[in-house]
């Protein structure tokens, strides 16, 4: 059973990322705050007696459910989930050598001409905007896997899909981001 301090520390560590993720999903800061608050309350009410190690996965599931509840309330769920194929990244990227780009972007991200013209804050904003533009399932997989640092199995459990789908979503998200950021001149 998680102690009060463990629960508090966990919520503190996860709340900002959770809010950002909710903002990416619903594109409304106030609604995102409500979703995160609702998620924290549901976790505390129903699962505070669970071991601390179980909290991250439980939190992610509740957050996903709370986000979906919000969409249901807004009656636009059908638009979000109508056909994920519409949101998938275009084809095989045959004309785009991802490996080269990834190698170039693998280090700390910055603008090619950062020192001259673009501030760090602008770079972060651009990256956030590109993440926000990813298709919902790709974004969710990418953020759970690499930002929340869940493993593939945990991400799959949280998203309710297969591990293969998680790998595919993550790979497509990485390629789409790399391509978009390179197009905006953000490389190492």
């Amino acid at each position: 059973m998680a102690t009060e301090k463990e629960l508090s520390d966990f919520l503190k560590s996860v709340e900002k990322r959770a809010w950002k993720r909710a903002v990416y999903a619903v594109r409304d800061e106030d609604a995102a705050l409500d979703i995160v608050q609702d998620t924290m309350i549901r976790l505390a009410e129903k699962y505070a007696d669970r071991p601390a190690a179980e909290l991250p996965l439980l939190f992610q599931r509740i957050l996903s459910n709370a986000t979906m509840d919000w969409f249901r309330r807004q009656k636009v769920k059908s638009q979000v989930v109508r056909n994920f194929s519409e949101y998938e990244a275009p084809g095989a990227d045959s004309d785009f050598d991802i490996l080269d780009t990834l190698e170039a972007l693998g280090g700390p991200l910055q603008s090619e001409s950062a020192a001259e013209s673009v501030s760090r804050a602008q770079i972060l904003q651009t990256i956030e905007a590109e993440v926000a533009q990813l298709p919902p399932r790709q974004r969710e997989a990418f953020l759970l896997r690499y930002w929340e640092e869940l493993d593939v199995a945990e991400t799959a459990a949280s998203m309710g899909c297969s591990e293969g789908s998680v790998k595919t979503h993550c790979s497509r998200a990485v390629h789409a981001l790399a391509k978009a950021l390179k197009a905006k001149g953000i490389t190492s």
């Binding site: 705050l33 608050q37 991200l109």
Partner: protein, 143 residues
């Protein structure tokens, strides 16, 4: 040999993807660390509210456990609590069954009394089916 080369390229690609993804995640972390004071405050408020609810839930569990143990003398308070909550329902259903039983017995006993009176009377029971006797009963008593 060709397969090894392909495997190597796939592994390299996967490693590069992971490196890139972590670099992006680090940037997102940096961005998340720069939230406006208003958002940070509202998140803190939400967290405090959640913790308060968790604390209250824990206190209730402890209270129930303590009172359950005091009543039952054992630590199985939840079982007793559940039993205590359905006790009024059991009493209600039992009461309804008893009332129904009592009503049925009363009806039977009334019917038995009527039967007994009819059968024990000097007048044969078939007399009540005789139209002439019915008229006789309706007619005013003659001098």
């Amino acid at each position: 040999m060709k397969l090894d080369d392909r495997t190597y390229r796939a592994a390299a690609r996967e490693a590069a993807e992971a490196r890139f993804a972590r670099a992006v995640a680090a940037c997102l972390d940096e961005g998340a660390g720069q939230l406006s004071p208003d958002v940070a405050e509202r998140l803190r408020f939400g967290r405090q509210k959640a913790l308060e609810l968790a604390r209250r839930g824990r206190d209730e569990t402890v209270g129930v456990t303590a009172s359950g143990a005091a009543i039952a003398g054992v630590g199985q308070s939840r079982w007793w609590l559940r039993f205590a909550s359905v006790l009024p329902l059991i009493a209600l259903v039992g009461g309804l069954v008893l009332i129904q039983n009592w009503q049925t017995r009363t009806q039977i006993s009334v019917a038995a009394e009527i039967d007994e009176a009819l059968l024990g009377d000097d007048l044969p029971i078939n007399a009540y089916r005789d139209p002439g006797f019915a008229e006789f009963l309706k007619a005013p008593p003659s001098e």
